[in-house]
Symmetry: C2
Subunit: 367 residues, 2 copies
């Protein structure tokens, strides 16, 4: 009855259920996309799920964020009455445990996400082993891949707006405002977006939010745009120039693009993530450049999840894994990064991204 990925995890751990408030796992296991853009609310705790092997997933959340469905256990949210959402959530959690038919002693708890104040109600529950927990959302279903693709369409709206807003005298914050507005129009509503947005010599800094810096001719713009739609994250990076790029940028862009292609060629079932990292990183290093960050990462339920494409990773790629590859070169006041997202399929991978990657601001060259 439960998600087969969850069943495998629970069986490996000898447990009957998992309790987690991680918004990615809540989305995966209960289909519920919690709001994450504003921090904690005084009216409610983060939504959580009791995901049992032999019962439908039981969602625990405030009445304000409950959707239809009889597997949801709610407590009062926004109210003029006295506030004690912890007590409300504890009572709803107890009801969820009963509805799932599980005992605390056979239940795993995600210690990074479940608030400690809920533990008295599930005393005896066991810390969820993190390695298996991290792998839980790695391989996606076809529907989940489609949801990532929907988020990538927002990335493309963002990149188109960013390139169009790249004008002499415009500030990084103006470019960002154009990105945000375009994504929210495409999504039809407010949308959480993580973004690196750097220009000029700041591109060497790799990442960071936009600052009040005005663009000048010859500047690079590096934009890494990461929106969340219906609880599912997209990701995308490109680097382009306003006018003629700095002398070093063309070589860096060619190297990063070559490394990206090598990474996509290496994405196939059975490949070790650590080997993919080495394949991509060595292209960049052979050209005399380097990047200090990961080569890539899984994404979807989170913006950085397994399979992490990092040195030493023993994670083995499998069909359905959705992976971003994002090599870059950073030196001497110039930074260039390109990134696309692909899904691992039976005989390789399929690129899901469509945003332009060209160094020319108006270039239509796609992934």
């Amino acid at each position: 009855m439960a998600d087969p990925r969850l069943q495998a995890y629970l069986e490996a751990c000898g447990a009957d259920a998992l309790v987690t408030a991680d918004p990615g796992l809540v989305r995966m296991l209960a289909g519920h996309a919690a709001e994450v853009g504003f921090g904690p609310s005084p009216f409610q705790l983060p939504a959580l799920v009791v995901a049992a092997r032999d019962a439908p997933a039981q969602l625990v959340c405030s009445a304000d964020e409950a959707a239809a469905g009889d597997a949801t256990h709610v407590y009062e949210g926004f109210t003029t009455a006295p506030l004690d959402p912890l007590a409300g959530a504890a009572a709803a959690l107890a009801a969820a445990m009963a509805a799932a038919g599980v005992r605390a002693a056979r239940t795993l708890v995600d210690g990074a996400s479940v608030p400690s104040g809920l533990m008295p109600g599930i005393a005896g529950a066991v810390a969820a082993p993190i390695a298996g927990l991290a792998m839980l959302p790695a391989a996606k279903t076809a529907d989940e891949v489609a949801a990532v693709e929907a988020s990538l369409r927002l990335c493309e709206a963002g990149h188109a707006a960013a390139r169009a807003a790249t004008r002499e005298g415009a500030g990084e914050l103006d470019v960002w405002a154009a990105v945000s507005a375009a994504i929210e129009h495409a999504a039809g509503g407010r949308t959480t977006v993580i973004a690196d947005l750097l220009s000029g010599p700041r591109t060497e800094d790799i990442g960071g939010p936009p600052v009040p810096r005005a663009l000048a001719r010859g500047d690079l713009v590096l934009a890494d745009i990461v929106p969340r739609l219906d609880g599912i994250w997209g990701d995308s990076c490109a680097t382009w120039a306003l006018g003629a790029p700095p002398p070093a940028a063309a070589d860096m862009h060619a190297v990063a693009s070559q490394a990206l292609r090598a990474g996509l060629d290496a994405l196939r079932p059975g490949a070790r993530a650590g080997d993919v990292d080495r394949t991509v990183r060595s292209v960049v290093e052979a050209a005399g450049h380097s990047y200090p960050h990961h080569t890539g990462h899984g994404l979807g339920f989170g913006w950085h999840e397994e399979p992490r494409i990092v040195p030493e990773s023993a994670t083995v790629l499998a069909p359905g894994m959705v992976v971003a590859i994002e090599p870059g070169c950073y030196r001497g006041g110039v930074g260039v990064r390109v990134e696309v997202v692909a899904v691992v399929e039976a005989d390789g991978c399929r690129v899901l991204s469509r945003h332009p990657l060209g160094l020319d601001r108006d270039g239509a060259e796609a992934a």
Copy 2:
């Protein structure tokens, strides 16, 4: 040595220290403004503080968000190595407990915010009583009031932009985009903003985010703009019309404005929050209207905190409390709300808000 508000709370509870990961309390007790706009990170847990009676506050966070200062205990954040931020945070928490010189058995834990996975390291710690915890940030210092005022200046930038963007054919999302861009320009960087943005008949819905609805002449726009600057929240609401307002709106606006003035007159030391609620609500009800929400609330470290201005509240107002008052009228496809923020002073209150409240879009009538 510690914050006198914390000292009083700990003494009332017979405890030596408080551990909390609530971002408002972390800002108050450790001076650290954590990012809250993107949900949990795979690289770190929420920043937390060990706030002891007899030692400086000890901040526990990842190296990525650590600021200068020797009372910070860090663990690795963004990395290409294997991820286990829970283990990192647990080790840093142990170091913080040792540096603060406190024992778990004499320590209170904020059960709504501290992740359960950290509890084994502070086994024997006691659940923090929530009533006192809620009152902890209610009365602000002069510096904290100034920080709220800085956030209110962002509110004003947002309201000015929203009124200017209120044009026939513009969508709610366009108005919101103008608000967001204006606030981020005023703040000099990305800014978390909660906002109700409703137009036309949707104003009767009281709250909610903008949707793809185009404005027409005769529409009301209701904007409740709540930005966070350096970890401190502002708040502000106004309602205005595009062209001639709906017939009911002028009366509703007059009633809500009268109720707001009554609320400000009632904000003084010694007043009971429940009485302030009744004073304001009765003005609206005497005019044949009603609102189903709170009359107001404290704000600053959170966007809704004590003193909550709600029926039955026995909270007694005191100097330094920062309070938003926000009466409204909602009926027949028309909703009007006005809101300003004031600080309770020795002999009444001082209004801190400066955004225009007029029903005329171009009206300059201020709070």
